[in-house]
Protein backbone atom coordinates (compact mmCIF):
# COMPACT_ATOMS: atom_id res chain seq x y z
CA UNK A 1 0.00 0.00 0.00
CA UNK A 2 1.21 3.48 -0.80
CA UNK A 3 -0.17 7.00 -1.10
CA UNK A 4 0.21 9.47 -3.96
CA UNK A 5 0.34 13.27 -3.89
CA UNK A 6 -3.37 13.59 -4.46
CA UNK A 7 -4.18 11.35 -1.46
CA UNK A 8 -1.82 13.26 0.81
CA UNK A 9 -3.48 16.54 -0.12
CA UNK A 10 -6.88 14.97 0.54
CA UNK A 11 -5.76 13.77 3.99
CA UNK A 12 -4.49 17.29 4.74
CA UNK A 13 -7.85 18.71 3.75
CA UNK A 14 -9.70 16.26 6.03
CA UNK A 15 -7.38 17.21 8.89
CA UNK A 16 -8.00 20.91 8.20
CA UNK A 17 -4.32 21.66 7.78
CA UNK A 18 -2.77 23.77 5.06
CA UNK A 19 -2.65 22.01 1.69
CA UNK A 20 0.95 20.84 1.19
CA UNK A 21 2.59 21.63 -2.19
CA UNK A 22 5.98 21.33 -3.92
CA UNK A 23 8.88 19.88 -1.96
CA UNK A 24 6.89 19.75 1.25
CA UNK A 25 4.29 17.58 -0.49
CA UNK A 26 6.97 15.29 -1.96
CA UNK A 27 8.58 14.94 1.46
CA UNK A 28 5.26 14.03 3.06
CA UNK A 29 4.49 11.44 0.39
CA UNK A 30 7.89 9.81 0.99
CA UNK A 31 7.52 9.88 4.78
CA UNK A 32 4.05 8.38 4.73
CA UNK A 33 5.07 5.70 2.24
CA UNK A 34 8.02 4.76 4.43
CA UNK A 35 5.69 4.34 7.38
CA UNK A 36 3.26 2.27 5.34
CA UNK A 37 6.09 0.07 4.07
CA UNK A 38 7.23 -0.52 7.63
CA UNK A 39 3.72 -1.48 8.70
CA UNK A 40 3.53 -3.83 5.74
CA UNK A 41 6.58 -5.65 7.06
CA UNK A 42 4.57 -6.48 10.18
CA UNK A 43 2.04 -8.24 8.03
CA UNK A 44 4.62 -10.87 7.21
CA UNK A 45 4.01 -12.29 10.67
CA UNK A 46 1.23 -14.80 10.86
CA UNK A 47 -1.35 -13.62 13.39
CA UNK A 48 -3.76 -16.46 12.84
CA UNK A 49 -5.26 -17.63 16.14
CA UNK A 50 -3.82 -14.61 17.93
CA UNK A 51 -6.43 -12.43 19.58
CA UNK A 52 -6.09 -8.71 18.89
CA UNK A 53 -4.30 -7.08 21.80
CA UNK A 54 -6.19 -4.09 23.12
CA UNK A 55 -4.05 -3.44 26.16
CA UNK A 56 -0.55 -4.27 27.29
CA UNK A 57 -1.83 -5.10 30.75
CA UNK A 58 -4.73 -7.34 31.62
CA UNK A 59 -7.35 -4.67 32.12
CA UNK A 60 -11.03 -4.24 31.42
CA UNK A 61 -12.97 -1.09 30.63
CA UNK A 62 -13.35 1.14 33.66
CA UNK A 63 -16.93 2.19 34.35
CA UNK A 64 -18.66 5.00 36.25
CA UNK A 65 -21.92 5.05 38.19
CA UNK A 66 -24.66 7.29 36.79
CA UNK A 67 -24.17 10.21 39.17
CA UNK A 68 -23.70 13.90 38.41
CA UNK A 69 -20.22 14.76 39.68
CA UNK A 70 -19.05 17.43 37.30
CA UNK A 71 -20.03 20.65 35.51
CA UNK A 72 -21.36 23.94 36.85
CA UNK A 73 -18.38 26.08 35.85
CA UNK A 74 -19.34 27.65 32.51
CA UNK A 75 -16.90 30.57 33.01
CA UNK A 76 -14.00 28.13 33.15
CA UNK A 77 -15.26 26.27 30.08
CA UNK A 78 -15.19 29.38 27.90
CA UNK A 79 -12.20 31.01 29.59
CA UNK A 80 -9.73 30.15 26.84
CA UNK A 81 -12.15 30.76 23.97
CA UNK A 82 -11.04 33.30 21.40
CA UNK A 83 -14.47 34.87 21.68
CA UNK A 84 -17.28 34.30 24.18
CA UNK A 85 -20.47 36.01 25.25
CA UNK A 86 -22.83 35.15 28.12
CA UNK A 87 -20.88 31.92 28.57
CA UNK A 88 -21.48 30.88 24.97
CA UNK A 89 -18.56 30.18 22.66
CA UNK A 90 -18.80 32.65 19.78
CA UNK A 91 -17.57 31.43 16.39
CA UNK A 92 -17.89 32.61 12.79
CA UNK A 93 -21.32 31.64 11.53
CA UNK A 94 -21.53 28.05 10.42
CA UNK A 95 -24.58 26.93 8.56
CA UNK A 96 -24.28 23.65 6.81
Amino acid sequence: MSVDEHTVQYIAKLARIEKPVGDELKGLVDDLNNILAWVEQLEELSTENVEPMTSVVDASLRVRADIVTDGGYPEDIVENARDARDNFFVVPQVVE
Binding site: V68, G71, Q93
Partner: protein, 504 residues
Protein backbone atom coordinates in the same frame (compact mmCIF):
# COMPACT_ATOMS: atom_id res chain seq x y z
CA UNK B 1 -38.73 -13.39 18.08
CA UNK B 2 -42.00 -14.23 16.48
CA UNK B 3 -42.90 -14.50 12.85
CA UNK B 4 -46.15 -16.14 11.91
CA UNK B 5 -46.49 -17.46 8.37
CA UNK B 6 -49.61 -15.33 7.94
CA UNK B 7 -47.62 -12.18 8.39
CA UNK B 8 -46.04 -10.30 5.49
CA UNK B 9 -42.47 -10.37 6.60
CA UNK B 10 -40.11 -7.89 5.06
CA UNK B 11 -37.44 -8.74 7.66
CA UNK B 12 -34.09 -8.10 6.03
CA UNK B 13 -35.24 -8.93 2.53
CA UNK B 14 -34.80 -5.92 0.28
CA UNK B 15 -36.49 -7.91 -2.47
CA UNK B 16 -39.68 -8.14 -0.49
CA UNK B 17 -42.30 -6.32 -2.48
CA UNK B 18 -44.83 -3.89 -1.16
CA UNK B 19 -48.55 -4.48 -1.51
CA UNK B 20 -49.86 -2.63 -4.55
CA UNK B 21 -51.72 -0.19 -2.30
CA UNK B 22 -48.35 1.14 -1.14
CA UNK B 23 -46.99 1.79 -4.64
CA UNK B 24 -46.90 5.26 -6.11
CA UNK B 25 -48.30 5.70 -9.62
CA UNK B 26 -46.11 7.64 -12.00
CA UNK B 27 -46.47 8.46 -15.68
CA UNK B 28 -44.57 5.29 -16.60
CA UNK B 29 -46.35 2.95 -14.21
CA UNK B 30 -46.06 2.03 -10.57
CA UNK B 31 -43.07 2.75 -8.35
CA UNK B 32 -42.03 1.20 -5.10
CA UNK B 33 -40.47 3.29 -2.32
CA UNK B 34 -37.73 1.71 -0.21
CA UNK B 35 -37.07 3.40 3.13
CA UNK B 36 -34.58 2.84 5.92
CA UNK B 37 -34.57 4.84 9.16
CA UNK B 38 -31.72 5.75 11.48
CA UNK B 39 -33.41 6.76 14.70
CA UNK B 40 -31.43 8.73 17.26
CA UNK B 41 -32.81 8.26 20.76
CA UNK B 42 -31.37 10.23 23.65
CA UNK B 43 -30.82 7.95 26.64
CA UNK B 44 -32.53 8.81 29.92
CA UNK B 45 -29.71 9.05 32.46
CA UNK B 46 -28.53 11.49 35.12
CA UNK B 47 -25.05 12.03 33.74
CA UNK B 48 -23.39 11.88 30.34
CA UNK B 49 -22.02 8.86 28.48
CA UNK B 50 -18.37 9.55 29.27
CA UNK B 51 -18.43 12.30 31.91
CA UNK B 52 -20.09 13.21 35.20
CA UNK B 53 -21.85 16.33 33.86
CA UNK B 54 -25.64 16.57 34.08
CA UNK B 55 -27.87 15.62 31.14
CA UNK B 56 -30.72 17.95 32.23
CA UNK B 57 -32.43 19.58 29.27
CA UNK B 58 -31.94 23.33 28.98
CA UNK B 59 -29.83 24.94 31.69
CA UNK B 60 -27.65 28.02 31.41
CA UNK B 61 -25.18 28.00 28.52
CA UNK B 62 -22.27 25.60 29.15
CA UNK B 63 -23.38 24.96 32.74
CA UNK B 64 -23.71 21.20 32.21
CA UNK B 65 -20.26 20.77 30.75
CA UNK B 66 -17.18 19.05 32.12
CA UNK B 67 -13.68 19.38 30.72
CA UNK B 68 -14.20 16.02 29.00
CA UNK B 69 -17.28 17.31 27.15
CA UNK B 70 -15.42 20.47 26.16
CA UNK B 71 -12.71 18.36 24.52
CA UNK B 72 -9.93 19.77 26.69
CA UNK B 73 -6.53 18.18 26.09
CA UNK B 74 -5.61 15.27 28.35
CA UNK B 75 -9.15 14.48 29.46
CA UNK B 76 -10.11 10.81 29.42
CA UNK B 77 -13.60 9.40 28.86
CA UNK B 78 -14.97 6.96 31.47
CA UNK B 79 -18.14 5.14 30.47
CA UNK B 80 -21.40 5.45 32.39
CA UNK B 81 -22.47 1.86 33.17
CA UNK B 82 -26.13 2.82 33.39
CA UNK B 83 -26.08 4.08 29.78
CA UNK B 84 -24.73 0.68 28.75
CA UNK B 85 -27.60 -0.98 30.61
CA UNK B 86 -30.09 1.30 28.92
CA UNK B 87 -28.76 0.28 25.50
CA UNK B 88 -29.00 -3.40 26.44
CA UNK B 89 -32.52 -2.89 27.74
CA UNK B 90 -33.54 -1.19 24.50
CA UNK B 91 -31.89 -3.94 22.44
CA UNK B 92 -33.89 -6.55 24.33
CA UNK B 93 -37.06 -4.52 23.75
CA UNK B 94 -36.30 -4.64 20.01
CA UNK B 95 -35.96 -8.44 20.19
CA UNK B 96 -32.35 -8.00 19.21
CA UNK B 97 -29.11 -9.82 19.82
CA UNK B 98 -26.94 -8.21 22.51
CA UNK B 99 -23.26 -8.36 21.67
CA UNK B 100 -21.10 -9.28 24.66
CA UNK B 101 -18.15 -7.61 22.94
CA UNK B 102 -18.34 -4.18 21.36
CA UNK B 103 -15.89 -1.43 20.51
CA UNK B 104 -15.94 2.37 20.60
CA UNK B 105 -14.61 4.18 17.56
CA UNK B 106 -13.83 7.76 16.72
CA UNK B 107 -15.92 9.28 13.94
CA UNK B 108 -13.88 12.25 12.77
CA UNK B 109 -15.34 15.50 11.50
CA UNK B 110 -15.02 19.20 12.21
CA UNK B 111 -17.90 21.27 13.47
CA UNK B 112 -17.94 23.93 16.21
CA UNK B 113 -20.44 21.99 18.33
CA UNK B 114 -18.08 18.98 18.40
CA UNK B 115 -15.10 20.22 20.41
CA UNK B 116 -13.22 16.89 20.39
CA UNK B 117 -13.02 16.91 16.60
CA UNK B 118 -14.56 13.45 16.67
CA UNK B 119 -17.65 11.78 17.98
CA UNK B 120 -17.18 8.65 20.07
CA UNK B 121 -19.44 6.12 18.41
CA UNK B 122 -19.48 2.43 17.51
CA UNK B 123 -18.82 1.23 13.99
CA UNK B 124 -17.75 -2.31 13.28
CA UNK B 125 -18.76 -3.83 16.62
CA UNK B 126 -21.99 -2.26 17.93
CA UNK B 127 -23.43 -3.21 21.33
CA UNK B 128 -26.67 -4.51 19.78
CA UNK B 129 -27.05 -6.53 16.59
CA UNK B 130 -30.03 -7.68 14.54
CA UNK B 131 -33.58 -7.61 15.84
CA UNK B 132 -37.13 -7.06 14.63
CA UNK B 133 -40.35 -5.38 15.67
CA UNK B 134 -43.96 -5.70 14.59
CA UNK B 135 -45.63 -2.58 13.32
CA UNK B 136 -49.38 -2.25 12.91
CA UNK B 137 -50.84 -0.13 10.12
CA UNK B 138 -54.10 1.80 9.95
CA UNK B 139 -55.97 -1.05 8.18
CA UNK B 140 -54.83 -3.59 10.78
CA UNK B 141 -52.07 -5.11 8.67
CA UNK B 142 -49.03 -6.08 10.75
CA UNK B 143 -45.59 -5.74 9.15
CA UNK B 144 -42.39 -7.06 10.70
CA UNK B 145 -39.52 -4.60 10.32
CA UNK B 146 -35.92 -5.72 10.70
CA UNK B 147 -33.46 -3.87 12.94
CA UNK B 148 -29.92 -3.84 11.61
CA UNK B 149 -28.16 -2.68 14.77
CA UNK B 150 -28.19 -0.31 17.73
CA UNK B 151 -25.05 1.48 18.82
CA UNK B 152 -24.04 3.93 21.53
CA UNK B 153 -22.65 7.35 20.68
CA UNK B 154 -22.26 10.90 21.97
CA UNK B 155 -24.65 13.73 21.19
CA UNK B 156 -23.17 17.01 19.89
CA UNK B 157 -23.60 20.51 21.31
CA UNK B 158 -25.98 23.14 20.01
CA UNK B 159 -25.22 26.09 17.73
CA UNK B 160 -27.47 29.12 17.66
CA UNK B 161 -27.02 31.12 14.49
CA UNK B 162 -27.19 34.86 14.88
CA UNK B 163 -28.08 36.69 11.68
CA UNK B 164 -27.28 40.16 13.00
CA UNK B 165 -23.66 39.49 13.89
CA UNK B 166 -23.07 36.64 11.40
CA UNK B 167 -21.84 34.62 14.38
CA UNK B 168 -22.79 31.28 15.84
CA UNK B 169 -23.17 30.83 19.59
CA UNK B 170 -22.16 27.40 20.84
CA UNK B 171 -23.60 25.74 23.94
CA UNK B 172 -22.10 22.37 24.86
CA UNK B 173 -24.70 21.31 27.46
CA UNK B 174 -25.90 18.51 25.18
CA UNK B 175 -22.37 17.58 24.14
CA UNK B 176 -21.58 14.06 25.33
CA UNK B 177 -25.12 13.04 26.32
CA UNK B 178 -25.64 9.37 25.42
CA UNK B 179 -27.52 8.55 22.25
CA UNK B 180 -28.69 5.25 20.85
CA UNK B 181 -28.69 5.09 17.08
CA UNK B 182 -31.19 2.46 15.99
CA UNK B 183 -30.73 1.50 12.35
CA UNK B 184 -33.56 -0.28 10.55
CA UNK B 185 -33.14 -2.58 7.60
CA UNK B 186 -34.44 -1.10 4.33
CA UNK B 187 -37.73 -2.86 5.02
CA UNK B 188 -40.13 0.07 5.00
CA UNK B 189 -42.25 0.49 1.87
CA UNK B 190 -44.38 3.60 2.47
CA UNK B 191 -44.56 6.81 4.46
CA UNK B 192 -47.27 5.20 6.56
CA UNK B 193 -45.04 2.24 7.44
CA UNK B 194 -42.21 4.59 8.37
CA UNK B 195 -44.53 6.66 10.56
CA UNK B 196 -45.88 3.54 12.27
CA UNK B 197 -42.34 2.22 12.73
CA UNK B 198 -40.95 5.29 14.49
CA UNK B 199 -44.10 5.56 16.61
CA UNK B 200 -43.57 1.96 17.69
CA UNK B 201 -39.90 2.62 18.53
CA UNK B 202 -41.05 5.62 20.55
CA UNK B 203 -43.63 3.54 22.42
CA UNK B 204 -41.07 0.82 23.19
CA UNK B 205 -38.40 3.18 24.56
CA UNK B 206 -41.02 4.99 26.63
CA UNK B 207 -42.23 1.71 28.15
CA UNK B 208 -38.62 0.76 28.87
CA UNK B 209 -37.85 4.25 30.20
CA UNK B 210 -34.67 4.29 28.19
CA UNK B 211 -35.62 7.47 26.24
CA UNK B 212 -38.39 9.96 27.02
CA UNK B 213 -39.40 10.00 23.34
CA UNK B 214 -39.93 13.76 23.40
CA UNK B 215 -39.61 14.74 19.75
CA UNK B 216 -40.13 18.46 20.46
CA UNK B 217 -36.99 18.50 22.61
CA UNK B 218 -35.13 16.40 20.05
CA UNK B 219 -34.92 13.33 22.32
CA UNK B 220 -35.99 11.27 19.34
CA UNK B 221 -35.33 12.10 15.71
CA UNK B 222 -34.45 10.31 12.51
CA UNK B 223 -32.32 10.35 9.40
CA UNK B 224 -34.46 8.99 6.58
CA UNK B 225 -33.03 7.07 3.62
CA UNK B 226 -35.30 7.01 0.59
CA UNK B 227 -34.94 5.40 -2.83
CA UNK B 228 -37.43 4.30 -5.48
CA UNK B 229 -37.53 1.46 -8.00
CA UNK B 230 -39.89 -0.35 -10.30
CA UNK B 231 -41.26 -3.35 -8.36
CA UNK B 232 -38.91 -6.33 -8.68
CA UNK B 233 -35.94 -4.30 -9.83
CA UNK B 234 -32.70 -3.77 -7.87
CA UNK B 235 -32.46 -0.95 -5.32
CA UNK B 236 -32.28 2.58 -6.69
CA UNK B 237 -29.82 5.29 -5.65
CA UNK B 238 -30.80 6.64 -2.25
CA UNK B 239 -30.89 10.07 -0.71
CA UNK B 240 -30.59 10.65 3.01
CA UNK B 241 -32.77 13.28 4.67
CA UNK B 242 -31.11 14.47 7.88
CA UNK B 243 -32.57 15.18 11.29
CA UNK B 244 -36.32 14.98 10.88
CA UNK B 245 -37.97 15.52 14.24
CA UNK B 246 -41.63 14.57 14.07
CA UNK B 247 -43.61 11.59 12.84
CA UNK B 248 -45.65 13.81 10.56
CA UNK B 249 -42.54 15.47 9.09
CA UNK B 250 -40.93 12.07 8.46
CA UNK B 251 -43.99 10.99 6.51
CA UNK B 252 -44.15 14.29 4.59
CA UNK B 253 -40.45 14.16 3.77
CA UNK B 254 -40.78 10.62 2.39
CA UNK B 255 -43.78 11.52 0.24
CA UNK B 256 -42.03 14.55 -1.17
CA UNK B 257 -38.69 12.83 -1.70
CA UNK B 258 -40.19 9.73 -3.36
CA UNK B 259 -42.16 11.86 -5.79
CA UNK B 260 -39.12 14.04 -6.52
CA UNK B 261 -37.08 10.97 -7.41
CA UNK B 262 -39.86 9.47 -9.53
CA UNK B 263 -40.22 12.75 -11.47
CA UNK B 264 -36.48 12.82 -12.16
CA UNK B 265 -36.36 9.20 -13.31
CA UNK B 266 -39.41 9.57 -15.51
CA UNK B 267 -37.78 12.54 -17.20
CA UNK B 268 -34.87 10.25 -17.99
CA UNK B 269 -32.53 11.80 -15.43
CA UNK B 270 -30.43 10.00 -12.87
CA UNK B 271 -30.64 10.24 -9.09
CA UNK B 272 -27.55 11.71 -7.49
CA UNK B 273 -26.69 10.24 -4.11
CA UNK B 274 -27.25 13.21 -1.81
CA UNK B 275 -27.66 14.31 1.75
CA UNK B 276 -30.77 16.47 1.93
CA UNK B 277 -32.64 18.47 4.52
CA UNK B 278 -36.40 18.76 5.10
CA UNK B 279 -38.05 22.14 5.44
CA UNK B 280 -41.16 21.75 7.56
CA UNK B 281 -42.59 25.04 6.35
CA UNK B 282 -42.52 24.20 2.65
CA UNK B 283 -42.85 20.42 3.07
CA UNK B 284 -39.94 20.02 0.65
CA UNK B 285 -36.49 18.47 0.80
CA UNK B 286 -33.47 20.37 -0.53
CA UNK B 287 -29.89 19.39 -1.24
CA UNK B 288 -27.29 19.82 1.52
CA UNK B 289 -24.39 18.08 -0.18
CA UNK B 290 -23.66 15.62 -2.96
CA UNK B 291 -21.51 12.55 -3.14
CA UNK B 292 -18.30 14.48 -3.84
CA UNK B 293 -18.72 16.35 -0.55
CA UNK B 294 -19.84 13.28 1.36
CA UNK B 295 -18.18 13.11 4.75
CA UNK B 296 -15.15 10.85 5.10
CA UNK B 297 -15.25 10.00 8.78
CA UNK B 298 -12.08 7.91 8.99
CA UNK B 299 -13.40 5.70 11.77
CA UNK B 300 -10.83 4.02 13.97
CA UNK B 301 -10.99 2.37 17.43
CA UNK B 302 -10.78 4.96 20.20
CA UNK B 303 -7.46 4.34 21.96
CA UNK B 304 -8.85 5.94 25.14
CA UNK B 305 -11.41 3.17 25.62
CA UNK B 306 -10.99 -0.56 26.00
CA UNK B 307 -13.54 -2.84 24.35
CA UNK B 308 -16.86 -3.06 26.18
CA UNK B 309 -17.39 -6.58 27.47
CA UNK B 310 -20.68 -7.65 29.00
CA UNK B 311 -21.36 -10.81 30.97
CA UNK B 312 -24.19 -13.05 29.71
CA UNK B 313 -25.50 -13.15 33.28
CA UNK B 314 -25.83 -9.37 33.32
CA UNK B 315 -27.87 -9.46 30.10
CA UNK B 316 -30.08 -12.15 31.65
CA UNK B 317 -30.60 -10.02 34.78
CA UNK B 318 -31.69 -7.09 32.66
CA UNK B 319 -33.97 -9.32 30.59
CA UNK B 320 -35.67 -10.52 33.77
CA UNK B 321 -36.23 -6.94 34.92
CA UNK B 322 -37.87 -5.70 31.70
CA UNK B 323 -41.34 -4.20 32.17
CA UNK B 324 -44.31 -5.48 30.20
CA UNK B 325 -43.87 -4.22 26.63
CA UNK B 326 -46.58 -2.72 24.41
CA UNK B 327 -47.26 -5.87 22.34
CA UNK B 328 -47.59 -8.05 25.43
CA UNK B 329 -49.74 -5.47 27.21
CA UNK B 330 -52.03 -5.20 24.20
CA UNK B 331 -52.43 -8.98 24.04
CA UNK B 332 -53.25 -9.06 27.76
CA UNK B 333 -55.80 -6.25 27.45
CA UNK B 334 -57.50 -8.31 24.72
CA UNK B 335 -57.34 -11.79 26.21
CA UNK B 336 -57.70 -11.04 29.92
CA UNK B 337 -59.72 -7.85 29.90
CA UNK B 338 -61.78 -8.52 26.78
CA UNK B 339 -60.95 -5.30 24.96
CA UNK B 340 -61.22 -5.12 21.17
CA UNK B 341 -58.06 -5.09 19.06
CA UNK B 342 -58.64 -1.43 18.28
CA UNK B 343 -59.26 -0.33 21.87
CA UNK B 344 -56.28 -2.29 23.17
CA UNK B 345 -54.11 -0.75 20.45
CA UNK B 346 -55.13 2.81 21.31
CA UNK B 347 -54.76 2.33 25.07
CA UNK B 348 -51.28 0.77 24.81
CA UNK B 349 -49.94 3.21 22.19
CA UNK B 350 -48.37 5.24 24.95
CA UNK B 351 -47.42 4.27 28.46
CA UNK B 352 -49.29 7.01 30.38
CA UNK B 353 -52.58 6.03 28.68
CA UNK B 354 -52.01 2.37 29.48
CA UNK B 355 -51.25 3.18 33.12
CA UNK B 356 -54.30 5.43 33.38
CA UNK B 357 -56.50 2.71 31.95
CA UNK B 358 -55.13 0.03 34.26
CA UNK B 359 -55.82 2.19 37.31
CA UNK B 360 -59.40 2.87 36.22
CA UNK B 361 -60.06 -0.74 35.16
CA UNK B 362 -58.69 -2.19 38.41
CA UNK B 363 -61.66 -3.96 40.01
CA UNK B 364 -64.12 -2.43 37.53
CA UNK B 365 -65.60 -3.27 34.13
CA UNK B 366 -62.63 -2.91 31.72
CA UNK B 367 -64.82 -2.21 28.68
CA UNK B 368 -66.69 0.54 30.50
CA UNK B 369 -63.34 1.99 31.61
CA UNK B 370 -62.02 1.86 28.03
CA UNK B 371 -65.13 3.55 26.65
CA UNK B 372 -64.92 6.39 29.15
CA UNK B 373 -61.22 6.95 28.59
CA UNK B 374 -61.29 6.79 24.81
CA UNK B 375 -64.55 8.69 24.51
CA UNK B 376 -65.14 11.33 27.15
CA UNK B 377 -61.62 11.69 28.52
CA UNK B 378 -59.67 11.72 25.25
CA UNK B 379 -62.31 14.00 23.72
CA UNK B 380 -62.00 16.50 26.56
CA UNK B 381 -58.20 16.29 26.60
CA UNK B 382 -58.05 16.89 22.86
CA UNK B 383 -60.32 19.87 23.12
CA UNK B 384 -58.24 21.33 25.95
CA UNK B 385 -55.00 20.38 24.14
CA UNK B 386 -53.73 18.48 27.17
CA UNK B 387 -51.66 15.32 27.51
CA UNK B 388 -53.12 12.56 29.65
CA UNK B 389 -50.47 13.16 32.35
CA UNK B 390 -51.92 16.66 32.80
CA UNK B 391 -55.54 15.52 32.90
CA UNK B 392 -57.60 17.44 35.46
CA UNK B 393 -59.51 14.19 36.04
CA UNK B 394 -57.10 11.71 37.61
CA UNK B 395 -57.46 7.97 37.04
CA UNK B 396 -58.75 7.23 40.56
CA UNK B 397 -61.32 10.03 40.23
CA UNK B 398 -62.64 8.60 36.97
CA UNK B 399 -62.69 5.22 38.72
CA UNK B 400 -64.79 6.71 41.52
CA UNK B 401 -67.19 8.10 38.92
CA UNK B 402 -67.59 4.65 37.38
CA UNK B 403 -68.31 3.27 40.84
CA UNK B 404 -71.16 5.75 41.18
CA UNK B 405 -72.66 4.40 37.96
CA UNK B 406 -71.99 0.84 39.07
CA UNK B 407 -73.85 1.15 42.36
CA UNK B 408 -76.67 3.07 40.62
CA UNK B 409 -76.05 6.28 42.55
CA UNK B 410 -76.18 8.09 39.21
CA UNK B 411 -77.20 7.14 35.68
CA UNK B 412 -74.74 7.00 32.78
CA UNK B 413 -76.24 10.17 31.43
CA UNK B 414 -75.79 12.14 34.63
CA UNK B 415 -72.27 10.72 34.83
CA UNK B 416 -71.40 12.58 31.62
CA UNK B 417 -72.56 15.78 33.26
CA UNK B 418 -70.52 15.03 36.40
CA UNK B 419 -67.50 14.25 34.24
CA UNK B 420 -67.68 17.67 32.61
CA UNK B 421 -67.71 19.33 36.02
CA UNK B 422 -64.83 17.15 37.17
CA UNK B 423 -62.84 18.09 34.08
CA UNK B 424 -63.46 21.78 34.61
CA UNK B 425 -62.91 21.89 38.36
CA UNK B 426 -60.77 18.82 39.08
CA UNK B 427 -63.38 18.02 41.74
CA UNK B 428 -64.25 14.76 43.41
CA UNK B 429 -67.23 12.98 41.78
CA UNK B 430 -68.87 11.89 45.05
CA UNK B 431 -68.85 15.45 46.33
CA UNK B 432 -70.10 16.90 43.03
CA UNK B 433 -73.04 14.48 43.02
CA UNK B 434 -73.85 15.38 46.65
CA UNK B 435 -73.51 19.13 46.22
CA UNK B 436 -75.50 19.34 43.02
CA UNK B 437 -78.18 16.88 44.10
CA UNK B 438 -77.60 14.62 41.12
CA UNK B 439 -78.35 11.37 42.91
CA UNK B 440 -80.50 9.03 40.90
CA UNK B 441 -84.11 8.73 42.03
CA UNK B 442 -84.66 5.05 42.77
CA UNK B 443 -87.61 5.74 45.02
CA UNK B 444 -90.32 4.04 42.94
CA UNK B 445 -93.07 5.98 44.69
CA UNK B 446 -91.70 9.29 43.42
CA UNK B 447 -91.25 7.90 39.91
CA UNK B 448 -94.75 6.42 39.93
CA UNK B 449 -96.22 9.77 40.87
CA UNK B 450 -94.51 11.43 37.91
CA UNK B 451 -95.63 8.67 35.56
CA UNK B 452 -99.22 8.91 36.72
CA UNK B 453 -99.19 12.63 36.01
CA UNK B 454 -97.83 12.13 32.52
CA UNK B 455 -100.24 9.33 31.65
CA UNK B 456 -103.18 11.39 32.83
CA UNK B 457 -102.10 14.39 30.78
CA UNK B 458 -101.50 12.52 27.51
CA UNK B 459 -104.39 10.19 26.64
CA UNK B 460 -103.54 10.29 22.89
CA UNK B 461 -100.02 9.03 23.46
CA UNK B 462 -101.36 6.33 25.77
CA UNK B 463 -103.64 5.08 23.00
CA UNK B 464 -100.80 5.14 20.51
CA UNK B 465 -98.39 3.18 22.63
CA UNK B 466 -100.83 0.24 22.77
CA UNK B 467 -100.49 -0.02 18.94
CA UNK B 468 -96.80 0.77 18.77
CA UNK B 469 -94.99 -0.43 21.93
CA UNK B 470 -91.82 1.29 20.75
CA UNK B 471 -93.44 4.64 21.42
CA UNK B 472 -92.67 3.97 25.09
CA UNK B 473 -89.48 5.92 24.43
CA UNK B 474 -91.49 9.11 24.38
CA UNK B 475 -92.79 8.40 27.89
CA UNK B 476 -89.32 7.59 29.16
CA UNK B 477 -88.16 10.92 27.80
CA UNK B 478 -90.97 12.75 29.52
CA UNK B 479 -90.24 11.11 32.87
CA UNK B 480 -86.55 11.87 32.57
CA UNK B 481 -87.30 15.47 31.76
CA UNK B 482 -89.67 15.78 34.69
CA UNK B 483 -87.05 14.33 37.06
CA UNK B 484 -84.11 16.27 35.70
CA UNK B 485 -82.59 13.08 34.31
CA UNK B 486 -82.20 11.66 37.77
CA UNK B 487 -84.75 8.85 37.59
CA UNK B 488 -83.29 5.37 37.37
CA UNK B 489 -83.94 4.33 33.74
CA UNK B 490 -84.57 0.67 34.55
CA UNK B 491 -87.11 1.58 37.18
CA UNK B 492 -88.82 4.04 34.82
CA UNK B 493 -89.07 1.44 32.07
CA UNK B 494 -90.46 -1.20 34.35
CA UNK B 495 -93.10 0.99 35.96
CA UNK B 496 -94.14 2.45 32.60
CA UNK B 497 -94.64 -1.00 31.13
CA UNK B 498 -96.81 -2.02 34.07
CA UNK B 499 -98.91 1.12 34.01
CA UNK B 500 -99.34 1.13 30.23
CA UNK B 501 -100.17 -2.58 30.21
CA UNK B 502 -97.29 -3.59 27.96
CA UNK B 503 -95.50 -6.93 28.13
CA UNK B 504 -92.21 -7.02 29.68
Amino acid sequence: MRASPMRPKNGGDVNAQAKSSKLISGATGEWEVVIGLEVHARIMSQSKLFSGASTAYGGDPNAHVSLVDAGMPGMLPVINEYCVEQAIRTGLGLNAKINTYSVFDRKNYFYPDLPQGYQISQYQYPIVGEGEIDVELEDGEVVTIGIERLHLEQDAGKSIHEERSKKSLVDLNRSGVALMEIVSKPDLRSAEEAGAYISKIRTIVQYLETCDGNMDEGSLKADVNVSVRKPGEPLGTRCEIKNVNSVRFIMQAIEYEANRQIDLLERGEEIEQQTRRFNSETGKTTKMRGKEDAHDYRYFPDPDLLPLEIEESRIEEIRQSLPELPDAKKRRFMTELGLSDYDAGVLTADKPSAEYFETVAQGRDPKLAANWIMGDLFGALNKADLEIEASPVKADQLGALLDLIGDQTISGKIAKQVFQIMFETGGDPVKIVEDQGLKQVTDTGAIEAEIDKIIAANPDQVAQVKEKPKAIGWFVGQVMQATGGKANPQAVNQILKEKLGLDG
